[in-house]
């Protein structure tokens, strides 16, 4: 196969966000296969720390696949193969010496549909810190739970019913509970796979506000189908199409003057 076929089409001069924020995740020459299907083709991308990076693109373009490769969620899919290098803080996460459970504690994930455990609100958040042994006693655990719920902007709404089931919350609250659960283990990176697509506009705005607050502390990567959401919350935008990273750049530029015609046509609603 000719190498040139799968070259990333356009890499503009270094995005400005990378000049101010250090690189957290560096992917180089990543290919992902599902059996015969070549889902990601020779992808290279640098993701900044303490910033929000958004992946956009039509369904089946590979954005979720790449997101899931970042915490090795694809390992669980039979026939899935990842080649190339993904470094987090300079450490190759596909190295055989890496403990995947530890890795997923460092790189948390929030899914499209809120999926709280069928347990109490408290237990949902306490679960991670407990199994990772992050709290030395009950008080420390309570501290972590309170802190995480506060950081997820959920505390005021649930502080009087911590021991009621998490599934009894509204969709937006459940999603914030899942975010609280993800940040309870003190991760470095939070991956979000369409975190607002099942939520109403107000709940969406709350999550977006939360994302903007969380980027102070974390490296956030979000896959979204909403162009406006990517434009609103992200610092860096990467556009995927047919398994190829077409364009990655500062969000401000991608949404006002994209360099690639395909990016332009997609974000302006001309194909998709």
């Amino acid at each position: 196969m000719n190498d040139m076929t799968f070259k990333t089409v356009f890499t503009p001069p270094q995005p400005k966000i990378l000049a101010t924020n250090p690189a957290k995740i560096i992917a180089e020459g990543v290919d992902v296969y599902y059996g015969e299907k070549h889902a990601i083709k020779n992808l290279s991308l640098t993701i900044p720390d303490k910033a929000v990076s958004a992946f956009i693109g039509p369904s089946g373009c590979g954005k979720s696949t790449f997101l899931r490769s970042i915490n090795r969620m694809n390992d669980t899919i039979p026939g899935c193969r990842v080649t190339g290098v993904i470094n987090v803080d300079g450490q190759a996460i596909y190295d055989p010496s890496i403990d995947v459970v530890d890795l997923r504690a460092r790189i948390g994930m929030v899914f499209q549909k809120p999926n709280p455990f069928p347990k109490s609100i408290f237990e949902n958040v306490a679960y991670g810190p407990r199994i990772h042994g992050l709290a030395k006693d009950k008080t420390a655990l309570e501290q972590i739970v309170t802190e995480s719920l506060k950081r997820a902007s959920l505390w005021d709404e649930v502080k009087d019913r911590l021991h009621q089931p998490g599934t009894g919350l509204s969709g937006g609250q459940q999603q914030r509970l899942c975010i609280a659960r993800a940040i309870a283990v003190n991760p470095e990176v939070i991956l979000m796979d369409e975190p607002c697509s099942a939520l109403d506009p107000i709940a969406t705005a709350r999550i977006e506000e939360l994302i903007t607050e969380l980027k102070e502390k974390f490296c956030i990567v979000i896959v979204t189908h909403s162009m406006q959401q990517a434009a609103r919350v992200s610092d860096l935008t990467a556009f995927f199409h047919l398994g190829i990273l077409v364009e990655a750049g500062d969000t401000d530029e991608v949404f006002t003057s994209p360099q690639e015609k395909r990016t332009h046509d997609y974000i302006t609603g001309r194909f998709g």
């Binding site: 949404f255 003057s257 332009h264 609603g269 194909f271 998709g272």
Partner: protein, 237 residues
Amino acid sequence: MSDHILKAYDDDLAQLKAMLSEMGGLAEEQLNHSMEALVRRDTRLAGQVIQADEKIDAMEIAVEEKAVLTIAKRQPLARDLRNIMVAIRIASDLERIGDLAKNVAKRSHAINDTLPRRLSAGLERMGQLSQAQLKMVLDAFAADDAEKAMEVWRHDEDIDALYNSIFRELLTYMMEDPRMISACTHLLFATKNIERIGDHATNIAENIYYLVHGKPLREERPKKDKTSITPFELKQD
């Protein structure tokens, strides 16, 4: 540019463009008529120009409303967004051109009664130049032609140069015969208005460049309007 998946979005943008070309046509007509009123000393035509200005004003408001509505409904991005921003700006330039043409018409009233001699041929020429600039920039806008827009942008200095020489010419008349001062001052303002119309045409050209290329034109425009730094010298014999 290929079509949007949502046809109604294309219709919105097409409508906006149609409104602007109608407005552009109107502004062109106003400029032509005001020049004709001035050159032919046609007071009746001048009156018509003054009347017709409110049509352009109303169209500017209509363009703005349409643009705001389109932003609200479609959340435009990239070139679509620039398209709408540029539409608002061009509408405001065209509205200003209308105002300036109206002002020329008003002054032609005053001049027609009092100016005894023929107007300077330079003024007529300047009117033609600005008419040509406006026409060309409107054509460039209709065709999304940034190259043509740049041509307009570069040629504005011709108008500026002519303005300079008319300025000096009128100064000389006034010095020769103080009874001419009133009419010549009106004429000077009319000339300045036409020069400003040229500037608005170049604004529109800059907007077309931005629309097409996605970045503002950063070069400094060549300028030959030196009247603001021309000292008023009385010759000592």
